[in-house]
């Protein structure tokens, strides 16, 4: 069966045998081996991922059930090797011994902390009923969560939740929806400048004209994958695989984002 879904912000279209488990798709097809298999029967929680933001056991789902969904694995949690406050607390509190259950724990707790800003210890322990750990006795896991809760903001944020990542996703959605007015008005400052090989476009009206022309040529536009997404200060660097009636290209873009709007964009295409 042909299945399309997003994993850690990359879109994938796969031909899957209907019987193949989601965890095997993630591990064997996409090589996301941070997702672990501990029990095959939905008890241990080593395979927990987020599906549309909700923690699920990927050994208890078929790959085809992920069609149309957006999945986040442990690989989608850390950015550039930087751990979020929950992960940092796991290290500081010695909540990891053999490390096998850890990715599932992090994903499960990420869901908990998204639902509840200040869960009680009993709530934390009850939530972890679906995550077995044989090394730590859970004591330091609970301590780590409590320590993370002292951190302001979202201690278990995902890569998807950084402000620039959210901005970029919103930009992408507007682009794919073909809504040029929304794209430009909501995402570009009044005097934004777009530099392309074809010239320099500045101001919202010029940008709208540019994007309308672009979309009229690149019909059936699909962003097949975001190959690279790097944040640096107020800048984003992206490499996307763009599929359209004109064929497949790799698009490189750099955005400077200030006050939630693009002020400068540099576009290049391979």
């Amino acid at each position: 069966m042909r299945v399309t879904f997003t994993v850690n912000h990359q879109s994938h279209t796969l031909d899957l045998e209907p019987r193949v488990l989601l965890v095997d798709v993630l591990r064997d097809h996409l090589h996301l081996t941070g997702v672990k298999i501990g029990c095959d029967t939905g008890q241990c929680g080593a395979c927990v991922v987020l599906m549309d933001g909700v923690s699920v056991k990927s050994c208890a789902l078929l790959g085809v059930q992920a069609d149309g969904s957006s999945i986040t694995t442990i690989e989608g949690v850390s950015e550039k090797g930087t751990m979020n406050p929950l992960q940092t607390a796991f290290q500081a509190a010695h909540a990891v011994q053999c490390g096998f259950c850890t990715p599932g724990m992090i994903m499960s707790l990420t869901d908990l902390l998204a639902r509840s800003a200040q869960p009680s210890e009993a709530e934390i322990r009850a939530w972890l009923a679906g995550n077995l750990c044989r090394c730590t006795g859970y004591e330091n896991v609970v301590r780590a969560v409590n320590a993370a809760l002292q951190v302001a903001g979202s201690p278990a944020h995902l890569v998807t939740e950084t402000p620039l990542r959210k901005f970029y996703d919103s930009h992408l959605r507007a682009m794919l929806a073909g809504d040029v007015d929304a794209l430009v008005d909501a995402h570009y400052s009044a005097d934004a400048v777009l530099t392309t090989f074809e010239g320099v476009i500045s101001g919202r009206d010029a940008l709208k004209t540019y994007f309308r022309d672009y979309l009229s040529v690149h019909t059936d536009l699909v962003i097949a994958a975001t190959e690279r997404f790097v944040e640096f200060g107020d800048s984003i660097y992206t490499e996307t695989v763009v599929r359209s009636a004109r064929g497949v290209t790799h698009a490189y873009n750099a955005f400077v984002v200030q006050d939630g709007r693009v002020t400068h964009q540099f576009a290049g295409v391979k």
């Binding site: 045998e17 019987r19 193949v20 095997d24 591990r27 064997d28 090589h31 996301l32 081996t33 941070g34 997702v35 672990k36 298999i37 501990g38 029990c39 095959d40 029967t41 008890q43 241990c44 080593a46 694995t73 442990i74 690989e75 949690v77 850390s78 090797g81 751990m83 992960q87 796991f90 290290q91 500081a92 010695h94 990891v96 011994q97 053999c98 490390g99 096998f100 259950c101 850890t102 990715p103 992090i106 009993a122 934390i124 322990r125 009850a126 972890l128 009923a129 995550n131 077995l132 750990c133 044989r134 090394c135 730590t136 006795g137 859970y138 004591e139 330091n140 896991v141 609970v142």
Partner: protein, 792 residues
Amino acid sequence: MANKVFGKPIKRKEDPAFIQGAAPFVADIHLPGMAHMEILRSPHAHARIRSIDTSEAAKMPGVLKVITGHDLVGRMKPLPCVWIPGGVESHFPLHPQDIPGAGMPLQTDHVRFIGDGVAAVVAETRYQAMDALRAIRVDYEVLPAVTTPEAALAENAPQLHDSVPGNLNAYWTCGDSASTDAAIADAEVVVELDLLNQRTINSPIEPRGALATFDPVTDEFVLYASTQSPHNHRLILCYYVLNISLNKLRIIAPNVGGSFGTKGYVYPDMPLVLFMARELKRPIKWQDSRQGYMRSTVQGRDHKQRAVLAGTRDGKITALRCTSHANLGAYPSTIGPGVATAMMGRSITGPYAIPAAFCEVYAAFTNTVPLGAQRGSGRSEATFMTERLVDLFAAEIGMDPAEVRRRNFVQPGDMPYDNGLGWLYDSGDYPELLERALRQAGYADLPALKEEAKARGRRLGVGLASFVAVSGVGPSPRMAKEGMLGGTWEAASIRCEPTGDVVATIGSKPHGQSHDTVFAQIISERLGVAVDRISIRHSDTMGTPFGQGSYGSRSFSMAGPALYLTCDKILQKACLAAAHKLNASPDEMVFENGRFYVDGQMDRGITLLETTLALWYAWDIPDGVEPCLEATTFWDAPDFNYPSGAQIALVEVDPETGEVELKRFIAVSDVGVIGNPMVMEGQLHGGIVHGLGQALFEQAIYDDDGNLISDTLERYALPKAAGLPHFELDFVTSPTPHNPLGAKGAGEIGTVGATAAVGNALCDALREYGVRHIDMPFTPEKVWRAIHPHGG
């Protein structure tokens, strides 16, 4: 020292990779051209194989090879058992090298437990290999099965091995039977107890896996395996199973997701993937499922004990006797027989000075999964039995259980103390451990709390457990006397690099113990090098010196001293070079904060890095000193070490439902010198919960036909986060004289006392109902039935 880190709770260096899902385990390794192996296991606990038809399976999509046991005859030898406890009588299945055998990787005519392998398939994908397993037709003649040692030893019992008459693996004893019996006959008070220390399943969260490659040009194999003893398993596989040179097999044990004893064994899948890799000239991967793990990987405990304790009316224990039937399962696992005998039998006197003691073990083969070690193995079974008896004795003479313990402890001044059963305790303060635990518990106030609980319709119980847990396997000559085939020493190398980094290689291998960090702390302390410049290499037989691996709480107290002593050698050599550079005598040199200087002249010095460079370039080094700053130590301890502890559990029972709630758990431990207290506490937390799991939830259940009923985590209950209290930990430090670190084993002591503390607490809570003993696990149903012996 400015950068003093030894003994400090520093964060683990290994953590970021785990926390980000970037640390590979065997299952995570994908090699180009890799094919997948699956093993067909017997569905019957005991059967003759009449025939096997693999023809349909061989035609299935993607299938590359199907083999049965017949294809292995003459191509490999049976797995060996390398721990032969001997004793009065001992019988094993055969191995051609005149040592005990543990069965062929695949059976040809006789299967003896539900995990016994009968065929193996290799296919392009794992799903295809599993499909092909279903197409293999095996014609079995089902035989009667036997699942308990007592039944196995009975006359006319089904027989498992031709070379093992009556299914008796060993009749093993320790201590003095005659004096013990005499003391019991003369005693004022005698208490007896029959108990089952139930079979458990270790259940690390990572099941086992093995992945082999073969290079036809060099005839060399690489095996990636979830093993806690890569060096030892390499030797066993090469010498006893595959008949190849040791240097033709490299074992890499990547990150291992917990073990608790089970991954210290050579399993059939290991030689099978190696065999298939050579046959097919492709990387071959086998990855077990949870159910597969439960049906084929060694299980723990399983002693049926009949015990007698004798004493005086004023609380002095005069004799202790135990007869145990140990259930070895269908085959002797790599080191299983030693676990079932010596580790339990020699430990029964615990921390007490008991004038007469004797233990005998009948170890029998049954149609169950082979037995192996489980965290605290032997010592936990001994402690549960003895500590339950001590409480029964206290009740019998009407004395407080704490007071009975006080009157019988081996005293610190008695060290070294010979327990009469084979252990020579090194150091410890058993009275102090208990007193501290009692103070922490507020022991004197507990009767009031019991009344308060009763007023709420609940029953509060308090349980004490004092114990000694032999650790640090071990002194090789001593282990040889115990029947261990192979040296149990450890080795370590340290190389100081000209960039200022230090690389240490060790034979020991972690599976959660924090080697990368704690061993770096030892080196940092000795050499004055920052922890983040120290790299600890392990888990790959290429490039690391031999070591037995991590089990029996031995890494820190065996590999640790090897590193410590290697630092001595590094400093001795560096001192010669430094003195030469400073035109001073080596006798005048002082080493402090990573720098040598001439005694009394702080400014006349040279750093270790400068010394390393001097030895690296070797342009101007003393006569007789070799270039490069590198050293190796092979360390064999003079004797075991003996960590000890006192634990107290407070449980509350709901008599209406039989539910047992653990209210508090106090553990005061003596592990000698501690390298990293944060890691130490983590070891205790995990160890305690391992014991709580056995006490409250876990049991491997076989039906009479030998089917394992509890073969998934749906049917085998592991402890969860909910319902556990915070653990109250404290430490007493009695360094062991048996290694230069003064460190004792710590990985298991949390477990060793926990079952006894909870068992004693439960029976204390149920005292008014006349409940003398309940076998573990203390499930609500069992507790309720004990309270309501005649039903509701």
